[in-house]
């Protein structure tokens, strides 16, 4: 198996970091598998960072997490049927995404319903793993991601799926934002809120499927939720928050890939740890930032009294 051989190569001989940055970068992209990993990782980070903003805004973090777990059954089922697990993943996440979207955002007990379906599909996944007699690597890759085993074809799939998700997100951007902030009001203004909820979950399902390749179904939070959750703590401008989320997701992915290249430990560990560490630092630094903002707000209000200024 190709993935297996790459895996052993890396774990046995980790390259050393030199003090020459150009040499290091050249070494990083010396192997095709690293180039593919960076390509796929970059696309996934952009998609995950952007859609994550809406996941946070709509308080749909659990739904996003559930999508990936439900996808696990699809992926393992595909492995049993000797189909590319990505297609099984896609079918299950999009199917369940549409179902969750149809449940609506306001429904009380929605999370309970999702949880019940989630538990059952994970059980299905366990069955499929036991039916599969080959290597356990496949299941491991689905659960924790195996970005270093990504092929050129996988990169093309990721690129196409990435373009589709971003284009769809741009198309529904304004009404989705409106419905996420105030569903009742958006509905009264003529926004088709239920169709939008279904559409968003379907887009999220495709994004989750892409992200699974990088961090696996268990660690999806690190790329979809964490960057956006950090971003909304910095800014309350929607577009700036999305851009910040994308930058953070890119930083986590690139830093994770680089760290993993120079060490014997898995990429997913580094991506999730860097994301978590950033979140902790931001939360700890927040009280300080708030004090600074209050100071500048006082200064601004003094300025306001001296001469009326407005930013249109």
């Amino acid at each position: 198996m190709v993935e297996q051989s790459i895996f052993t190569t890396i774990t046995n001989t980790s390259p050393q970091v030199s003090w020459n940055l150009f040499d290091d970068i050249a070494a990083l992209f010396h192997y095709d598998f690293m180039v593919h990993a960076f390509e796929a990782g970059t696309i996934v980070a952009i998609v995950a960072g952007a859609i994550g903003y809406f996941v946070v805004l709509r308080s749909s973090a659990f739904a996003a997490h559930a999508l990936s777990h439900i996808g696990f059954a699809g992926a393992t089922g595909a492995v049993v049927l000797a189909v590319n697990p990505i297609f099984g993943l896609l079918v299950f996440t999009v199917g369940s995404g549409i179902a969750i979207g149809a449940l609506g955002n306001r429904l009380r007990g929605r999370d309970v319903t999702i949880g019940i379906v989630l538990a059952w599909t994970l059980g299905l996944g366990v069955l499929f793993i036991s039916l599969y007699t080959g290597y356990a690597t496949e299941a491991y890759a689905i659960l924790f991601g195996l970005i270093l085993g990504i092929s050129a074809n996988d990169v093309i799939f990721t690129l196409v799926a990435g373009i589709v998700t971003i284009a769809a997100l741009i198309a529904i951007y304004r009404p989705l934002l409106f419905a996420s902030v105030d569903e009742e009001l958006a509905g009264a203004k003529g926004v088709p809120v239920t169709a939008l909820s279904i559409g968003f979950m379907a887009i999220l399902a495709v994004a989750v499927t892409e992200a699974v390749q990088v961090v696996g179904v268990l660690l999806i939070f690190a790329l979809i939720v964490t960057p956006a959750a950090i971003a909304v703590r910095f800014t309350s401008r929607p577009f700036v928050a999305i851009a910040t989320g994308v930058v953070l997701a890119l930083a986590f992915t690139w830093a994770g890939l680089t760290s993993a290249y120079y060490s014997p430990h898995p990429v997913s560990f580094f991506i999730t740890s860097i994301a978590f560490a950033t979140y902790v630092v931001v939360r700890l630094a927040e009280p300080i930032g708030r004090r600074l903002r209050r100071k500048s707000a006082t200064a601004a209000s003094i300025q306001d009294q001296q001469g009326h200024t407005s930013d249109a």
Binding site: L57, A171, L185, K189, S236
Partner: protein, 263 residues
């Protein structure tokens, strides 16, 4: 004389086989201020939703601004019933008001100057400039209500529908918001319909009372409805209407309704 803003003829509303109320006949004059009163669960919000076109009439006819109710009518401004925005909601008041301008359009906002100008004018009209750039979830109830009002006013609507805009406010903010709504109504010749629990802050401003209770909708003047007998009958709970030495009217007994809702 302008044609009436809203005309209902034998109107009924309900969900499926369940009728919330029926046989509603009323006409609301353009440029008037109407308070919608009635006990919880009586169908006040259902009436608003029917006028908005979110719920088709179960029976009878309804004309809103001379046409059939339709969802997304730009001539209607709306403030839905809500507690407050989630404190974690990280979006500026200005962005929220802008969504009122063009949030129903597909795609992203490419040239946002016109939208920004419309939002800005609306924010100014409710005197919310000083906090419009702060996250809406972190504002006070009164500030949030002003921004909701700014959102409802974008695009110069003819009709303003508000579902309990005063319920989360303290007494001072209640009268400030009602005063602001009254001023805007006069300046823009708006027709205003407002659902309220506590009628006291509204009494100086309202022209009509529409009460929704026991499966009926009926209209009256404040003088007819705001009496101990009729309010006691509408709410099925003892209500007293008192007059102070300066002739101001106070309704006592409906506060309970707010803190201990039944039905």
């Amino acid at each position: 004389m302008q044609p009436p803003a809203i005309v209902a003829r034998n109107l009924a509303a309900g969900y499926g086989a369940h009728r919330v109320w029926a046989h509603a006949d009323f006409s609301i004059a353009a440029g008037s201020f109407t308070a919608i009163l009635g006990p919880n669960g009586g169908g006040k919000s259902t009436l608003i939703r029917t006028i908005l076109g979110l719920l088709p009439p179960a029976d009878g006819q309804l004309q809103v601004l001379g046409e059939k109710p339709r969802r997304g009518n730009p001539l209607i401004g709306y403030i839905p019933q809500r507690s407050t925005f989630d404190p974690e909601l990280s979006i500026r008041g200005r962005d929220f008001v802008s969504l009122g301008v063009d949030g129903h359009r597909w795609g992203m906002r490419l040239l946002g100057a016109a939208t920004a100008a419309a939002a800005d004018a609306s924010i100014r009209s409710v005197n919310a400039e000083s906090y419009a750039d702060r996250p809406i979830g972190q504002l006070s109830g009164g500030e949030q209500q002003r921004l909701l009002l700014a959102q409802a006013l974008v695009g110069n609507p003819r009709l303003l529908l508000m579902d309990e805009p005063l319920s989360q406010l303290d007494v001072r903010n209640q009268s400030l918001i009602v005063q602001l709504i009254g001023d805007l109504k006069r300046a823009r010749e708006l027709t205003v319909l407002l659902i309220a629990h506590d009628v006291n802050p509204l009494l100086p401003h309202i022209d009509h009372v529409l009460y929704v209770a026991q499966g009926n909708v009926a209209m009256g003047t404040p003088e007819e409805i705001i009496t101990s007998e009729s309010l006691t009958r509408i709410y099925s709970t003892p209500v007293e209407v008192l007059k102070d030495s300066r002739g101001r009217v106070f309704v006592v007994g409906l506060e309970e309704e707010v803190s201990h809702p039944h039905g």
